[in-house]
């Protein structure tokens, strides 16, 4: 009888000492998570939030998902979403015009067609080498790759262990952020892009 009693005492202690060791309500977890997500300048994971708040990952994840539902129901100017593997508060797309008027910014320079094509090859085939990109695009992509590196949309991913040990490329976290992706699996399958109009044998 003594042993179980001792164990029980240990478990009960936190409540008795009224320390700041949290036994928070779900609402409190939601509120704190919301505040931290707002302040974070990068998308923040439920894991990191959990570490900061002293809560476990699942609790936080559930709380933030509930928060997301509230945001959606509210139909306000903000949304909360998962991007590049973390959570982020951002404005809704509907209001971008008014926001631009306020910020007085213009949309940033778009990538060239060549850069976009190179990026799509890298995104889908990573890690991929320059000769492999050439095989698909039929064009030397050196300047496109340089642009993509400068914009931090792609990064080097080691060397391929074949003759010449060519450099391999893959996409970066900034790529996910700029294209609104949570992770690479959010990309539609490349097979979905088969052009059925061109492969239709009936040309009429």
């Amino acid at each position: 009888m003594t042993e179980p009693e001792t164990e029980e005492v240990i478990i009960e202690q936190p409540e008795e000492t009224i320390s700041e060791a949290p036994a928070r309500s779900a609402a409190a977890v939601m509120a704190i998570a919301e505040a931290i997500i707002f302040v974070s300048d990068e998308p923040i994971t439920a894991k990191t939030l959990g570490e900061i708040m002293g809560e476990d990952k699942q609790t936080v994840q559930a709380a933030v998902e509930e928060l997301q539902r509230e945001y959606e129901e509210r139909s306000g100017g903000l949304q909360i979403r998962e991007i590049a593997g973390g959570w982020q508060i951002a404005t809704r797309t509907e209001y971008h015009e008014e926001i631009r008027k306020f910020l007085k910014t213009r949309p940033s320079a778009k990538l060239s067609l060549a850069a976009l094509e190179t990026l799509s090859v890298i995104a889908y085939k990573q890690p991929v080498t320059v000769p492999e990109i050439l095989e698909i695009r039929g064009v030397q992509s050196a300047s496109a790759i340089k642009t993509l590196l400068e914009k931090r949309l792609i990064v080097t991913k080691g060397h391929k262990e074949t003759v010449g040990r060519p450099m391999q490329y893959g996409t970066s976290k900034d790529f996910l952020i700029q294209f609104g992706l949570n992770d690479l699996s959010d990309l539609p399958s490349i097979e979905d892009f088969e052009d059925l109009t061109i492969t239709a044998l009936d040309q009429q």
């Binding site: 300048d41 508060i89 910020l103 990538l111 067609l113 030397q140 061109i198 492969t199």
Partner: protein, 264 residues
């Protein structure tokens, strides 16, 4: 058929050749040419324009059309033109193969029986997928540009440390090498510092200062050889992961920071 004549047709003299397309459509073509991302892009356009069946490309017609466009491209960047010319050669080769009669005495080799267009068709179909995927990415980025995050908070600049890539490092190094070029130094031949010693010195400095501005470090080098040794020392020390490269602002100065040995 007349392979000789065809060969001459495709020897480009960009100074003498004149575009054959009539004036009214030339402008439209010129605008369209600027938009092609490569020879495959152009080929797909031509095939669609001819309403050709991609699995049975009328290779003679398509090659002719392609070559007409190439001639118009003499005003474009030469680097682009090279890739287009390579494709022209490929098309001509395929066209020739299609014209040659099949050797009846040849063993039924798989290669012999294969349609000479097959490889090109496979490449076109594959490319087409990535072209469409690129369009999808473009649309995604447009949507994403309509999404905004909060304005900057004071702590942003202080904390944000972007890992510098070797690419950024090279950019810094390039700057310094250019600067050095301008200095004319009369150097008395001196003993050059070895890579091992350079690494030791670098390590000592970082451990003492905890954070070292690369620009400052490189500027201390007096000769080109020392500069190169210094650069290699930086790469080496980053490779052994005793230090990491950070950039506090995009395109800002790069710092070497000592890596904390404890679990991160």
């Amino acid at each position: 058929m007349e392979p000789q004549q065809q060969l001459e047709q495709f020897v480009f003299d960009f100074n003498k050749e004149k575009p054959e397309i009539v004036a009214e459509s030339r402008d439209e073509l010129k605008i369209k040419l600027g938009e092609f991302a490569g020879p495959l892009d152009l080929l797909l356009y031509l095939i669609k324009q001819e309403q050709a069946n991609i699995f049975d490309i009328p290779i003679a017609k398509i090659t002719d059309e392609y070559v007409k466009y190439i001639k118009l491209m003499k005003s474009l960047d030469i680097a682009v033109a090279a890739d287009f010319v390579v494709m022209a050669a490929t098309l001509i080769e395929i066209k020739s193969k299609m014209l040659l009669p099949r050797d009846p005495t040849a063993a039924s080799d798989a290669d012999e029986l294969e349609d000479p267009r097959k490889e090109l068709v496979d490449q076109l179909l594959e490319y087409e997928k990535f072209k469409s995927a690129a369009q999808m990415l473009y649309e995604r980025s447009t949507v994403e540009q309509a999404v905004f995050k909060r304005g900057t908070i004071e702590s942003d600049d202080n904390n944000a440390e972007i890992s510098a890539t070797v690419f950024d490092l090279l950019t810094v190094f390039q700057k310094i090498v250019l600067r050095h070029k301008e200095e004319v130094t009369m150097e008395i031949e001196r003993e050059e510092i070895s890579l091992a010693d350079m690494i030791k010195a670098l390590r000592k400095r970082i451990f003492a200062e905890l954070e070292l501005n690369l620009l400052t470090f490189f500027e201390d080098m007096h000769t080109r050889r020392e500069l190169v040794t210094a650069f290699i020392a930086v790469l080496e020390i980053v490779r052994t992961e005793e230090v990491k490269l950070v950039q506090k602002t995009t395109f800002g100065d790069i710092f070497l920071k000592k890596v904390e040995p404890a679990s991160s």
